[in-house]
């Protein structure tokens, strides 16, 4: 089956049926060829939007865990920054704030009325005499306490609140409203217990279901077999499904408001989704299942939640509103349930965290604008479009509550640059045209060393080592224009300019030009290949001179020494020559004496003089010292050098 498009606009939002073609209801009613067309169109739509959407969903989760920046620090999100230094909550304010929430809780009971347990996987009960028309449900109140010093992990208390038989796959038309099983949880349970300070409260639903099963069931997957082995009671198996919902989070905020809920249950034994690799996809019987398929397939538990002053009284807690509008006029069984709350619990852990996120933004009730935002998705070269609508100002990709239309548009533009957003004013609110940004540069802008982490180096770090800095602090104070929605209107020009990436710097891995080996960060500063006299050239000049047959070995040696000297220092001017010779004598003088090359060196100097490059004044001063040193064989080289050095330095002093 093709993955449905639900969920493009947020985890708890369902597409507006107006233009949206892929609902099962339509599939049934429309003729075959049309359906194929729809399917093809749907494929195109998916092709365009699926990947970036998935990426942004993933990034959203990642940013929740490890935020790169805080939205409230952004100028266009300043309203999210609830505090300013002036009106920071004092300690007493905080206390009031906290107790205020508890007041709601304390004055009430929590009433749960269970509509039924839905599991489409199994064939619906064909014969009524089958005893499997109900499952047993156990509701536990889980209290996660604060860690005490001696505790290793947070102590968890589970308080059973009751067991009920809940109808399995009931037909909503037949069952009378009054006959649903119901449970009451006393508000006393939410009071702080004596022994531990309770951090958070949550409800744990545990559904156990006994099913008859043929022993020679061929379709059984190995994992199921394994499970049935452990629970086998003479051909009967017990399957357990669980789900957990937070009532009060660790900030003591009420998470469950009045309303109808449908909770996706998780098989107890097989946890196909490993907690560490949580995605938004559910796996059912080994098949991957998009998030909202869970609700058509099950297993889900449906119930109504009310906070009542007494066991039969009116609700006292604010009623949670649906996150988005859905048309509830459709007659299909699936659609009847769309007005209910749906909380997809993929894994217990993840659902809790996402839950917190969405609720957090809802609870501090802001004055809500009654804006309807139409997202118009353009694809297939802008020839096709699909529209979905939302009634709030949450970002559909990362569920961030932007509170203002301007903020929302700014956020979309800056944070979701894989798309192009164009704002079009609309009588009911706003229309946002969403198309794919073809110019998006998805290239890696992180530290290039990280992708190319070099074996042998990256893993052998035992201490601090230098890294290339790829982040720089930029201080930019542009002239801010007044926030205006007009900046999001489609512009005719400058589109390209806006998409320009501003990343500059060394955002790549460099290589040594001689060996093609990656350049290590600590090697960045030195240009290792800029030698004026690379080794091969030094060798070359020596061999080239050696090849001469009519040059004697003394001449050759002096020439080689001199060539290396010139190559090393890169002399370029005639008027550098006096200095060059002084330097040569300083560096190589001892060597010349040792190798008995004095006269050859003198010839070299005379030759230089013949070329009009040095004056006799350069030749004269240090020469006697050289001769003196030469005339004393057997003396240590070092002392010779010292004697030799003297006139040289003397000369430079004079010339200076």
């Amino acid at each position: 089956s093709s993955p449905p498009l639900h969920g493009f606009l947020g985890a708890s939002c369902k597409a507006n049926g107006a233009v949206y073609p892929a609902s099962s209801a339509m599939m049934n009613s429309v003729k075959k060829p049309k359906m194929e067309q729809i399917q093809a169109d749907h494929e195109l739509f998916l092709q365009a939007f699926e990947k970036p959407t998935q990426i942004y969903r993933f990034l959203r989760t990642r940013n929740l865990i490890a935020p790169i920046f805080l939205h409230r620090t952004l100028t266009f999100m300043s309203h999210r920054n609830g505090r300013s230094n002036a009106k920071r909550y004092g300690m007493s304010d905080m206390f009031l704030f906290v107790t205020g929430f508890f007041f709601v809780a304390l004055s009430s009971h929590l009433q749960l009325t269970f509509t039924g347990f839905f599991h489409k996987d199994e064939k619906p009960s064909q014969n009524s005499e089958n005893e499997q028309n109900s499952v047993s449900l156990e509701v536990l109140l889980v209290k996660v306490c604060h860690k005490k010093r001696k505790d290793v992990s947070c102590p968890v208390k589970q308080v059973p609140t009751g067991k009920k038989q809940v109808p399995l796959n009931p037909d909503s038309n037949q069952t009378k409203p009054g006959s649903y099983p119901s449970l009451l949880v006393s508000s006393n349970e939410f009071e702080p217990s004596n022994s531990h300070m309770v951090k958070s409260y949550s409800l744990l639903f545990r559904v156990s279901r006994t099913g008859r099963r043929d022993t020679n069931d061929v379709t059984d997957t190995p994992s199921r077999k394994k499970r049935s082995l452990s629970h086998r009671e003479e051909g009967e198996t017990t399957e357990t499904y669980v789900a957990q919902m937070t009532v009060f989070d660790k900030n003591r905020r009420l998470q469950l408001l009045d309303g109808e809920y449908e909770v996706s249950m998780q098989g107890m034994e097989d946890s196909p989704v490993s907690k560490k690799r949580a995605t938004w996809e559910t796996i059912l019987d080994g098949k991957r299942l998009p998030p909202f398929e869970t609700f058509s397939q099950g297993p889900t538990l449906q119930f109504t939640l009310r906070w009542t002053g007494d066991a039969s009284g009116k609700s006292t807690a604010p009623v949670a509103k649906p996150l988005a509008t859905r048309n509830s006029d459709s007659s299909s069984p699936m659609e009847t349930r769309t007005s209910n709350h749906r909380t997809a619990l993929m894994t217990v852990k993840e659902s809790v965290s996402t839950d917190i996120q969405t609720r957090k933004e809802q609870v501090p009730c802001e004055p809500r604008q009654k804006l309807r935002i139409f997202y118009q998705f353009l694809y297939n070269n802008n020839t096709r479009q699909q529209t979905e609508a939302r009634d709030d100002l949450h970002c559909p990709w990362c569920t961030l509550n932007c509170s203002k239309l301007y903020s929302l548009l700014k956020h979309l533009k800056l944070s979701h640059s894989r798309f192009i957003f164009n704002y079009v004013p609309h009588p009911k609110g706003a229309r946002i045209d969403v198309s794919i940004n073809e110019c998006y540069d998805g290239s890696y802008v992180g530290n290039p060393q990280d992708i190319h982490s070099q074996p042998g180096f990256a893993f052998s770090r035992n201490g601090p080592v230098k890294r290339t800095a790829v982040t720089h602090i930029l201080v930019c104070r542009p002239k801010r224009t007044k926030p205006s929605l007009s900046e999001f209107l489609e512009s005719d020009d400058g589109e390209l300019e806006q998409q320009r990436t501003y990343v500059s710097g060394h955002n790549r891995l460099y290589f040594h030009s001689d060996s093609c080996m990656p350049l290590r960060p600590q090697e960045m500063e030195v240009d290792s290949e800029d030698e004026r006299d690379p080794e091969w050239l030094r060798e070359k000049t020596a061999t080239q001179l050696d090849e001469f047959t009519d040059v004697n070995e003394g001449e050759k040696e002096v020439m080689k020494l001199w060539n290396l000297h010139v190559m090393k220092h890169g002399f370029i001017a005639d008027n550098q020559m006096n200095q060059a010779i002084m330097l040569f004598v300083e560096n190589r003088g001892a060597h010349i004496i040792r190798r008995n090359l004095c006269r050859n060196f003198l010839l070299h100097l005379v030759s230089m003089h013949d070329f009009n490059l040095v004056s006799t004044a350069t030749i004269d001063p240090f020469w006697p010292a050289l001769i003196i040193a030469q005339g004393k064989p057997g003396k240590s080289i070092f002392s010779e050098y010292l004697v030799f050095q003297q006139p040289a330095t003397h000369y430079s002093a004079v010339s200076a």
Partner: protein, 642 residues
């Protein structure tokens, strides 16, 4: 067969020893590298210890994932250079380029054409060592017929006589340490002989490159020999004061008379000095001269040496009538003759430099030798002392000339070669003038030559057309431009003159990485301003013909590093070059190339066309640099990129 086997054995031996020395070298280099790593705090590769433990308990080791590393673009090996390197034309095809089996099979005509370019000569084809193998065969001197036969079979190996000479050379028993007859013995060695000044200095004079300051330099195949008659400033040749009690100046009057006599001989002496000079030395090649390789140099030299080696036994200097007649060794005598050409009558200085003789002994020796010694030159009559006024006029004409040259429609730029036409002004016959080049300080003409570039007198940065050097597309010459700062601050990078970057090698730090466009690219480490110098485009300097031949192969590879330098030469960075060779072509580049005259050499500078940010890739327009560079640096590359 036996000879062959012997030869095989020998080559094998040779190979083994080569391999071993190479290995030794590698080991040494590895040690150096490891040492360097230590100092740079790069931690060594962690070596895993064995997992299997002693008592059968299981040990757990953290699993580390090695990411797949993207492969780098192909790079053919090349040698780093920071200055151009001139190479000769290749007359044989060194190897048949391999471009994959398909090309070899399908495009046989290409290879054929290629071989035809080299007159069918491919390296290692045949007969390379034939003559040598034959000569190994017997100890007796072979009959002339054999040489005739070889010569007729392999005419390219030389005539019969030449082969005979070659045979002698190859078979002759060489004494250890013995030198070929044409070589002057080492003046510091035990076999030092007494020879003429020119012979002593011959090697130094002929091999020294006055432009690179190196011996047998890589860039200039022809080295001008020094022109000893052009001293810029006459040094104080004679010490006015005696150097000590024993100084020859304290000597009786006869000396003074002798000294007084010498000037009369001066003109004669000069001529004489000049004569052996021009005879013995190979004439300085000029632009017009045919390619003259070092062999002919050597021949000339050997002829000269033979002429001298007639007096094989060192001439014993008999100091007649002197009681304290000193014994002059060959080395001392040679040294004396060398120094007398530099110090003339300053015997004290000569004695100091010889070290083992007193100035009196030197003086006496000089008297003996008086007939062959060059004299101190008098001030040249034809060059009147410079006067300011004249110089100003000179300047004005030069500036006009620069303007003229610039306006000249001729787009051709010819290579500069120092001119050498003694006693003739630089007129229309001067090679510099005909090539429309200025005379440089390397020319043998007078420093007052009308064709010389005067340099600039800027006090600014020389980066506008106000500077005559900049206007003439020349870098400032540190020996001419003395006010702009081109001749100052040799050690620091802060030179006020901005027009001397190529010669100083003031290049920017470049980094190599896979290009965003194609293959490898080059990236700049630090941001640069517009028109700032980035790097010199270095490589082998080859003739236009050679570039044509090489270009055929490069075009086939779709990868060319050829860059037109001037009408005579092309820079090829394929085999040798520097990092800027990796800069890619772009029609909208951030760099531009400019061929500049830098101290007599044309060199290619790469400059920033606009301000360039940190880490930007560098591009320049391959075609824009020179009108006809297009010919070699193919447009194919663009297609490859697209």
């Amino acid at each position: 067969v036996v000879a062959d086997a012997e030869k095989l054995k020998q080559t094998e031996k040779c190979c083994t020893s080569m391999f071993n020395t190479n290995r030794q070298k590698i080991m040494e280099r590895t040690d150096i590298l490891n040492q360097e790593w230590k100092t740079r705090r790069i931690q060594p590769v962690h070596i895993m210890t064995s997992v299997s433990s002693l008592r059968g308990t299981r040990e757990v080791i953290p699993l580390k994932t090695l990411n797949a590393v993207a492969s780098v673009p192909v790079m053919y090996s090349w040698s780093p250079l920071q200055q151009n390197f001139m190479v000769e034309d290749e007359t044989v095809l060194h190897n048949i380029p391999y471009m994959g089996d398909e090309i070899l099979d399908q495009d046989g005509t290409f290879i054929e054409e290629l071989i035809k370019n080299y007159d069918g000569k491919v390296h290692g084809d045949r007969g390379e060592t034939l003559s040598r193998t034959n000569s190994d065969a017997s100890k007796k001197f072979p009959s002339d017929k054999i040489f005739e036969a070889i010569s007729s079979m392999f005419p390219d190996k030389g005539s019969t006589e030449e082969l005979k000479e070659k045979y002698k050379e190859l078979t002759e028993q060489q004494l250890p340490g013995a030198l070929p007859p044409e070589c002057t013995p080492n003046i510091d060695g035990p076999n030092a002989r007494s020879v003429q000044r020119e012979q002593s200095l011959h090697s130094f004079h002929t091999l020294f490159c006055r432009r690179c300051f190196k011996y047998d330099c890589f860039l200039h195949p022809f080295h001008a020999t020094p022109n000893t008659y052009k001293r810029k400033n006459l040094e104080n040749l004679v010490d006015s004061k005696p150097c000590g009690i024993d100084c020859y100046m304290e000597y009786p009057a006869g000396v003074v008379a002798e000294r007084a006599k010498t000037p009369s001989k001066r003109t004669v002496g000069r001529r004489r000095g000049r004569l052996p000079n021009s005879n013995s030395r190979p004439s300085t090649p000029t632009v017009s001269s045919e390619t003259k390789d070092t062999d002919s140099d050597r021949e000339g030299n050997s002829m000269f040496a033979e002429g001298n080696s007639r007096c094989q036994t060192p001439v014993k200097m008999k100091l007649s009538g002197e009681a304290e007649a000193a014994d002059w060794s060959g080395a001392e005598a040679s040294l004396f003759r060398v120094l007398i050409g530099t110090y003339y009558d300053n015997y004290c200085a000569i004695a100091r430099l010889i070290g083992t003789k007193s100035c009196r002994q030197v003086y006496e020796f000089r008297v003996k030798e008086s007939s062959i010694i060059a004299r101190a030159p008098t001030e040249d009559e034809d060059t009147p002392p410079r006067k300011k006024k004249r110089k100003h006029r000179l300047w004005a004409t030069h500036c006009r000339k620069i303007q003229l040259k610039k306006d000249g429609s001729s787009n051709h730029v010819y290579n500069y070669q120092p001119c050498d036409h003694p006693r003739q002004p630089c007129d229309s016959s001067c090679p510099c003038v005909t090539a429309q080049n200025f005379c440089e300080k390397f020319c043998q003409c007078s420093s007052e030559c009308q064709n010389r570039f005067p340099g600039c007198r800027c006090k600014a940065q020389c980066n506008t057309k106000q500077c005559p050097c900049y206007l003439a597309v020349r870098e400032c010459d540190p020996d001419l431009c003395l006010t702009c700062g081109a001749a100052d601050h040799w050690d620091s990078k802060n030179v006020s003159c901005k027009n001397c970057s190529i010669q100083r090698g003031a290049k920017k730090h470049l980094l190599l990485a896979p290009s965003d466009v194609a293959g490898w690219g080059i990236f700049i480490k630090e941001p640069v301003q517009k028109n700032e110098f980035i790097s010199e485009y270095c490589g082998e300097i080859i003739s236009q013909d050679e570039a044509d031949r090489r270009g055929k192969v490069y075009d086939k590879y779709m990868c060319s590093f050829l860059f037109n330098l001037n009408n005579d030469f092309v820079v090829d960075a394929t085999r040798k070059g520097n990092k800027i060779r990796f800069a890619n072509h772009s029609v909208n580049p951030n760099c531009y190339a400019k061929v500049m005259m830098v101290n007599g050499d044309h060199r290619i500078g790469i400059f920033a066309k606009r301000a360039i940010q940190t880490g930007e890739e560098l591009f320049f327009d391959y075609r824009y640099s020179q009108a006809d560079a297009l010919k070699y640096v193919g447009i194919e590359r663009e297609m490859e990129i697209a």
